[in-house]
Structure formats: structure tokens, C-alpha cells
Amino acid sequence: MEISVNLDDPKPMFAQLVDQIKTAIAVQAITAGDPLPSIRQLANDLELNSKTVAKAYRLLERDSVIQAKGYRGTFVHPDALKNIETNLTDHLETELNEVVLKLRELGATDSEIRIAFTNAMNVPYIKGEK
């Protein structure tokens, strides 16, 4: 199975890669447990920066579409077919839009919302901690 990226596409490269791999799983060109190329191999084959490919792999792993197994390599996640529907970016935008709308209804100004958002982003995050 071949994937391709278009340099002229306004969509970022890592996003194109994520979409291409998800499509490959959706059409069952690759299935659960199938190995994927290493970051270095894919980066060199596509002539992309390895950080771009690493970012795509990180996002796919976050969405449980792929699994990194250390030195053994990267593999398609057992539940990949179910998880390719997950799009955290869309969910993120939906949640944030709701919060911003609520804050505006309470009377907060845009600059107050931005300052509060920046302060919230600066709070260190420890996974599992509430």
C-alpha cells in the first residue's frame, strides 16, 4: 500500500499523513497488527523532516490507531478500525467553542478570555491528576 502527500495542499504534512494512514486502515489495506515503517524510513521515502512523521505517528498513537512497541517497531492498533473515527481536533474545537460562548454570555470580554486561556495553558498538566 502506498501513501502520498501533496506539497501544494494547504493541509499540513503531518495531517495529510494521519489522514492517509487512517484511510489505509479504513479500506483495510493494512489491518490490526500490521507493521508500519519506521519514522526514519517514512521520512526519507517521502523526503520529509523526521519530526513531521514523528508528529503524525504521535497523533495516531494518541488516538489509538497505531501502537509503538519500542525497538520492535510500530504496528496498527488492534482497535484501529473503530478508532479511526475519533477526531480529537474536531472534539477540541467543539468544546472550546461552547466554553467561549458561555463566557461571552456571562459578560467576559475577549481579552479577559484570552488571558484566562493563557493562564490555564501555563498550568502544568500531570496525566490522571484533577
Binding site: 502506498e2 501533496n6 506539497l7 501544494d8 493494512i30 515503517p37 526514519r40 524510513q41 526519507n44 520529509l48
Partner: protein, 281 residues
Amino acid sequence: MLDNLLFYTVFISQIFIISIYYPRQLANRMSYVSKNFPPADYPKLYPESLNKIMIKRKVFIICNIVIALSGLVLMFSVMPFGAAETVNYNKIDMIPLVYGMIQFIPVMFLELTSFKLLKLMRAADNKTNRSASLTPRHLFDFVSPMLLFTAVILAISFPIVEWTLNDFTLTNHLISQGIALLLVNVLFICLGTWHLYGKKQDPYQSPTDRIKQIYMALSSMLYVSILVSVFFGLTSIVNRLEWVELEVLINSLYFQLVAILGLGTMLRTIKVQDIDFSVYK
């Protein structure tokens, strides 16, 4: 008389294989490509003009002819006919090695030319779509584990055996051979990794042809690595037994085998008729 004939046979074989047979095969491939895939129909294949490429081909042929003729002159001057008994083999044992290195110069020139052409191809490549396979490439997809194991065992065991036979003394000769063996194998490891995971040199090459090229490169490097270890082992044995006449022959046969396993593997694995030239349209 028999020594003469044996030396002539082996040395003529070296001249023929490295300076005539394989160069002719390479030159014929270049002619075949230029006739069947002309620049008008396959512009991407010619980042520089066909004339320039054909001039380089002629230079390559002429160099090989000159080297072949020099080899014949050399052969009769170091071992005049009927003079085998008076020849000092200690003085001529390095000649096949040195001459062999000279014989490979035109091939290296061709390799450098090829690198330059590929660089020009990459510079001229303006396609915005890039594709890659989602199949990972692993070393053992291209070479047999047994072959790799053999190469590793031979590379490690030769210096150890030699050291043992030297009563566990590190001589300068052993150190230099060990370093040479190490450098050759490290070079092969680096080149092998580059072939497997590195960037595509030919931006238009089809995935199938790339797989064949990787297979060819890795196989020939493994064979040559084994050959280098065996060669060092044999010369060590021959030195101990003081079979100087045999050392001359071994040195010559070594270079012939390097050509057969290197160039020969390439020519056998990547037949020009099987290459997908449609990618260069």
C-alpha cells in the same frame, strides 16, 4: 614452464574479467538504454545531454582498453616466458593487487558519474506529490540470516585465529589486517543502512526497482565481506607455508571474485530489460 602458464592464465583472466568482459557489459547497457529510451521520449532520464553521457562512455571504454593492454605488457615484463624459475615471487606478489586496484578506477569513475547524474535528476525533480510504501523494510527481507551470520563469524574469527596462531601476540601485520577488516565491514554496514533506510537517490525510481537495487547492494556487500575475510585467511596460511607463488595467484583471484560478486551481482540482479523506464517519461 607450468608456473608460467598458470600465472599467465590467472592474470589474463583478471585482465579479461575486470577490464574487458564487465566493462563491455556496462557499456552495452548504456548503449541499450540510449537507443531504446531516447531523450525525446524519456526526458527525465537525461538530466544532462546524451552527448555528454556518451563521451563519458567512450572515456570509460578507452580507459579499460589502455589498462588491459598495460596489463599484458606488465604480465610479460614481470614473468618473461620460460623465466619462472628465476622470478622473485616476493617482489611480484603485490602486482595483481595493485593492478587490480587500477583496473577498478574506470568503474569508480562510472559510479561517480552516475552519482552526479542522480544529483542532477533530484535537482530537476519538481513534482509536488511524493509517495511511499507503508511496508517496513527490514534487513532480513533482503538477505538470508545465514549469509549474514557467515559474514559476521568469518570477520570475527579470522583475527582471533590469527592472533592464536601468533602465540597471542599482536603483530603490526595482524593489527593492520584487523583494522582493514573492521573498516571494510563498518563501511558496508553504513552503506547497507543507507540503502535500506536512506533517501531515494533516483527520484523517479519505481518501488519494485528500488527493492531490487537494495537486494543487489546488500547481497554483493555481504559476499564481498565474506571474500575479504577468506582472502585474509588464505594469505595468512600461504605466508606461513611460504607458498609465495600461490600468493600471487590468490591475489589475482581475489580481485576477480570481487568483480564477479560485485559487478556481476549487479548485472545479474538488475537486468536493464526489467527496469521500469515509464517513470522517466
